[in-house]
C-alpha cells in the first residue's frame, strides 16, 4: 500500500509544494464552472436570443433604418474619440516617460481619474457644463452650436470615459524603454519629429495598438455616460448600446439582441486580438499589462 502510494507520487511528481491531483481538479472544476456560469453563459445567451426568431429576423432587425443610423453614429463617435485619445496618450506618455519633473506621480494618478468616476456622473458633468442654466450652453446655442442631445456631447462623454486607456498602456511601456534609443537618434543628427516617428513609434507600436483596441471597445460600447447626454432621439442621437436599450424596453427583445450580438462580436474580436498581441508581443506591450 505504502509502496504503491510512493510509486504513484513519484510517477505523478506531486511535490510537497503542490496539491494532490484530486484537490487540483476539484479547484479547477469549481473555477471553470464559476467562469462558465458568470462569463460564458451571458455571451452564449446574446447570440442565442439574437437568432431565436431565425436568421431572417436577425438580418431584418439589423437592416432597420434606425439600427443602421445607430451603427453609423457609433462608428463616427469612435472615429473621433479614439484618435483624440491616441494623440493625448502619446503626448502624455512622452512627457511622463522621457522627462523627470515635479508632480509626475500625481499626474499619473490624475490620468486614471475617469476610471473611478461612475459613467452616469461622466455624462452628468457635461449636462451641468452645457445644459440649461449653465453659462456655456446658451452662449454656444446663440451661435447655433448644440452640444447636449447632439454629436458633440456624445463625443465628449465618450472621450471622458475612454480617456486613460491609451495613456496608461503607453506610460509604463515607455518608462521601461528609457531614453537611450532617443538620445542615440538625436546624437546622430535626427530632429525631434524624426526621432519620434522612426525610433519611438516603432518601439511602442504593439503597445499602442493594444491601448487603441481597449479604448475602441469601450468607446463603441459606452452606455451610461452617453445615455445621459444623448437625449435618445431615435435615428439621430442613439448609439448602438442606446438603440439596444430602446428596442429592449419596447419589448422587441429579438431585435435588441440582434444589435447586441454585433457589439458582442466586437467584444470577442477585441479579446482575440488582445490575447494574440499578448501571446505574440508580450514583452513589447508592457511590463505590467492588464488594466
Amino acid at each position: 500500500m505504502a509502496a504503491t502510494k510512493l510509486r504513484a507520487r513519484v510517477h505523478r511528481r506531486v511535490s510537497p509544494t503542490s496539491e494532490s491531483p484530486l484537490v487540483q481538479w476539484t479547484l479547477i472544476g469549481i473555477a471553470l464552472l464559476f467562469m462558465a456560469v458568470i462569463l460564458l453563459l451571458p455571451l452564449y445567451a446574446v447570440f442565442h436570443e439574437a437568432f431565436v426568431k431565425g436568421v431572417g429576423a436577425f438580418f431584418a432587425a439589423l437592416g432597420e433604418r434606425d439600427a443602421q443610423a445607430a451603427i453609423r453614429l457609433t462608428l463616427l463617435v469612435a472615429a473621433i474619440a479614439v484618435p483624440l485619445n491616441v494623440v493625448f496618450g502619446l503626448a502624455a506618455s512622452w512627457a511622463i516617460a522621457k522627462f523627470e519633473f515635479k508632480g509626475k506621480a500625481f499626474l499619473i494618478t490624475l490620468i486614471d481619474l475617469p476610471f473611478s468616476v461612475s459613467p452616469v456622473i461622466s455624462g452628468l458633468v457635461y449636462v451641468l457644463l452645457f445644459g440649461a442654466g449653465s453659462f456655456l450652453g446658451p452662449f454656444l446655442k446663440s451661435y447655433g452650436i448644440e452640444v447636449l442631445f447632439a454629436l458633440p456631447g456624445i463625443v465628449l462623454a465618450t472621450i471622458f470615459v475612454t480617456f486613460p486607456f491609451v495613456a496608461r498602456e503607453l506610460i509604463p511601456l515607455m518608462q521601461d524603454q528609457g531614453t537611450g534609443d532617443e538620445e542615440a537618434a538625436l546624437s546622430l543628427g535626427a530632429n525631434g519629429w524624426q526621432t519620434f516617428w522612426r525610433v519611438t513609434l516603432p518601439n511602442i507600436k504593439w503597445g499602442l495598438l493594444y491601448g487603441v483596441l481597449l479604448c475602441n471597445a469601450r468607446a463603441m460600447g459606452e452606455f451610461g455616460a452617453v445615455a445621459v447626454v444623448s437625449g435618445k432621439i431615435r435615428g439621430q442621437t442613439t448609439t448602438m448600446p442606446l438603440q439596444v436599450e430602446m428596442l429592449y424596453n419596447e419589448y422587441n427583445a429579438a431585435a435588441a439582441f440582434a444589435l447586441a450580438s454585433l457589439l458582442a462580436l466586437l467584444a470577442l474580436v477585441t479579446l482575440v486580438l488582445k490575447t494574440a498581441l499578448e501571446w505574440r508581443f508580450g514583452d513589447e506591450i508592457a511590463a505590467g499589462g492588464g488594466h
Binding site: P16, T17, Q24, L27, I28, I30, A31, L32, F34, V37, L39, L41, P42, A45, V46, E49, F88, L90, A91, A95, K98, F99, E100, F101, I111, L113, S116, S118, V120, I121, L124, V125, V127, L128, L129, F160, P172, E183, L186, G192, F196, A217, M220, G221, E222, F223, G224, A227, M240, P241, V244, E245, Y248, A260, L263, L271, K274, G288, G290, H291
Partner: protein
Amino acid sequence: MSAAVSFAPRRGWSFRQPSVIPGFGLTLGFTLTYFSLIILIPLLALAIRSAGLGPEGFWKAATDARVLGSLRVSFVTALIAAGVNVVFGTLIAWVLVRYRFPGRRIFDAIIDLPFALPTAVAGIALTAIYAPNGTIGALFAPLGWRIAYTPSGIVIAMIFIGLPFVVRTIQPILEEVSHEVEEASATLGASRFQTITRIILPSLTPAILTGFALAFARGVGEYGSIIFIAGNIPFVSEIAPLLIYIRLQEFNYVGATVIATVMLLLSFALLFVINLIQAWSRRRYGYGSN
C-alpha cells in the same frame, strides 16, 4: 544640453531635470490642456454647483430618504458582490497561475470579457438568463427565489463586471510569490494547508484588498448592466447612478448633482485607500500591483 543646464536655475529646486530630448513643453502643455478641458473643468463644474447649495441645502438634499435608500442599495449590493468576487476571483487566479489544464489560456483570456462586452449587452443577457423563465432563473423560481428584478439581480450583474478586477490584481502577485518560501515552509514541517493559509495568503492580502476595493468601486458606479436586471423599485432595487439619471430626466439638476458629489467623494476616498494599501504592500513585501 549645455543650453538646458544653463537655463535651469542652479538653486536646490527646479521643475524638471535637464534632458537632451525635445518636446517637453509641447507634450506636457498638450497633456495638461486636454486634461483640463475634458476632465478637470467638467468635474469643477460639478463641484461648483454642489458648493453653491451651501452646507445646509446640500445636507438636506443628500439625506433625502430616496437618496439614502439608493445609496444603501448600491453599497450593500456592491459589498456582497465584491465579497463573492474576492472568494472566486482568488480561486480562479490560483487555478490559472498554478495549475496546467486544457483550455487554460482560453479561460485566462475570457476573464477580460466584462471589460470588452458593452454593459448594456451584459445587462440584457443577464436578465434573459436570470429572469423567472431564463436558463438559471427557472432553476431558482420553484424555490421561491427570484433573482432578476430584485437586489439579487443587482449582485449578479456586479459580480459579472467586478470579477476581472479581482483576478487581474491577484494574478501578477501570485506569479511573483517565490517558490522558495513555500519549500522552506514545507521542509520545516508545515502541511500544505498551513503553507497556503500562513505563507501564501498573507502575501496576497494587499492584492486581495486592492481587488476588493476596485470591484467594489466599479460596482457602486455601475449603471448599464444593472438597470435591466434590477427592477428599479425605489428603496428596494434602485441604485444611486439610476437615481442620478432619473433626477436629470426630471431636470432636477440639484438633486442629481448632490448624489453625484456624494458618490464621487466616496470613490475618491476608496482610491486613496487603494493607494495606501499599495504603498503599504510595497513597503511590507517589496512589490505591489500598479
